[in-house]
Amino acid sequence: MKLGACLLLLFGFFLVLAALVMLTSLAQRSAFVGAGFGVEVLGLSLLTHAYRTMRREQR
């Protein structure tokens, strides 16, 4: 789960880079950068969840 979460963080970053390279208008770029952020937040949530679950199992 942790590896998947880190990959999601990276994918979100690459989505932001792709928005810069492939799009030109500010509105389109903003939308895709927002989407990239969404993916990063998902990755961060998953990573947090993974550690919470691990601690609970350790208890």
Binding site: C6, L9, L10, F11, G12, F13, F14, V16, L20, V21, M22, T24, L26, R29, S30, V33, G36, F37, E40, G43, L44, L47, T48, Y51, R52, R55, R56, Q58, R59
Partner: protein, 429 residues
């Protein structure tokens, strides 16, 4: 560039490190106090040596050699390629470029030490000294130089305008390179080291483990203010061409942002708990400094107050969210104070900054791209590096060490040998 002013500003930066060291020490427990201070010194020492030997080459500077490639019609300058062991920096004062590089090296040397101290707060009372040195080396040798190059060494984030037609990412006080990188390292350390023994009960409820010396914490806040003004001013002068008049604005904005952050935290804790909480107010002060740093030379005093207020409110609630909901045991609140308040500061620059060129939307987009790089690239890099180091040398002290305290366990003597040792009220033996 004003040489005397930039040098004076750089020489103030170690006060910020001293302030943070006192804050971390005071927010920890008395039986780990000497260990906390020694850990701060070790983090400073290791980061200084590793940065000068290796990190400075990858951080690079404007006009120095870089590693880059071309893709998607853009030039991606991703890592510095200056000579190792700081051989590209001369101290003979023969030319202006050499002088500028030596000043940048000196500033980044102190800044990386500050960044290396930040994660100590998240590992208080359980992070061993050896792994602290290893993690500081990772930060000074790899993670800080990478982002510092992107932002301050003419890397791709500083070339967004030339490559993509949007304004460049701006970090005028080291909020991204120092605070957020340090704060994300703190998050990684808190995850890896786990909570302190006795912090959470079997049903997951957290116990309050108060800091042992709040006077030192508050004194640390005052010291940090001096250092922060130096850091903000030095970065603004060296990387963004600020003049003496803007430096005055930097000092005023730093003071206002810190004040607003502290008062916001004080008011919130007063209304919630009927008495102001000193440690959260101290966190609000530092959060105001962190958030105000990003835009220090580019905002009005009113904007600095608003940024500090939001940072103070954000930190007060987020420390609770991390402790109660996310089960991240961060005794000094480093993740909220440095990472989250730093991210808010970077966004606030796009919202409140005064810019001579580019639209506000463009600046906001550029800031979001920089934050995305911090979360999407730097966090996985930091976490992977720390997980690897944890395999080499376990971060967390063993259960006996928890009970003894880090001072006795790792140093063989306590910080306060004349104190009467009471039965431990938190951890049953």
């Amino acid at each position: 560039m004003n040489l005397e002013l930039s040098l004076f500003s750089i020489l103030l930066v170690p006060f910020a490190a001293a302030g943070l060291a006192l804050i971390h020490q005071g927010l920890g427990r008395s039986r780990s106090a000497a260990h906390a201070m020694l850990a701060s010194l070790c983090a400073l020492a290791v980061s200084a040596i590793v940065f000068v030997l290796f990190g400075s080459a990858w951080a690079g500077s404007v006009g120095a050699a870089t590693h880059s490639f071309t893709a998607g019609g853009a030039h991606w300058d991703w890592l510095g390629a200056a000579p190792f062991f700081a051989r590209g920096v001369s101290f003979d004062g023969a030319d202006a470029a050499g002088l500028s590089r030596s000043l940048v090296l000196c500033l980044e040397l102190f800044a990386v030490g500050l960044a290396a101290i930040i994660p100590l707060s998240a590992g208080t009372d359980r992070w061993r000294l050896g792994p602290i040195c290893l993690s500081s080396a990772l930060l000074a040798g790899v993670t800080f130089p990478v982002f510092a190059h992107w932002v301050w060494g003419a890397g791709w984030l500083a070339q967004l305008g030339a490559n993509f037609g949007i304004p460049n990412f701006t970090d005028a006080g080291g909020t991204g390179a120092v605070q957020v990188v340090g704060g994300l390292t703190a998050l990684s350390v808190a995850w890896i080291a786990g909570p302190r023994r006795g912090k959470y009960s079997d049903d997951g409820m957290p116990a309050a483990i108060p800091g042992h010396n709040i006077v030192l914490v508050l004194f640390g806040c005052l010291l940090a203010l001096v250092g922060w003004i130096g850091l903000d001013a030095a970065v603004s002068i060296l990387f963004y061409g600020a003049g003496p008049q803007q430096v005055v604005g930097v000092a005023i904005n730093a003071m206002l942002a810190a004040s607003a952050g502290c008062l916001a935290a004080l008011a919130i804790t007063r209304s919630r708990y009927h008495k102001p909480d000193a440690s959260l107010s101290a966190n609000g002060w530092i959060a105001g400094l962190v958030a105000g740093s990003a835009a220090c030379a580019m905002i009005s005093p009113v904007a600095a107050i608003v940024i500090g207020l939001v940072a103070g409110v954000l930190v007060t609630y987020m420390i609770e969210v991390f402790e109660l909901r996310l089960r991240v045991d961060d005794p000094g609140g480093a993740v909220s104070v440095h990472a989250l308040a730093g991210i808010w500061g970077l966004i606030a620059l796009g919202i409140f900054g005064h810019f001579s060129q580019g639209t506000r939307g463009g600046h906001l987009l550029a800031q979001l791209v920089g934050i995305s790089a911090l979360l999407g690239f730097m966090l996985p890099l930091i976490h992977a590096g720390n997980l690897l180091l944890n395999r080499l040398s376990t971060y967390r002290v063993d259960d006996d060490g928890h009970w003894q305290g880090m001072d006795i366990r790792e140093l063989g003597a306590g910080a306060y040998p004349e104190f009467v040792i009471h039965a431990d009220e938190f951890v049953p033996r």
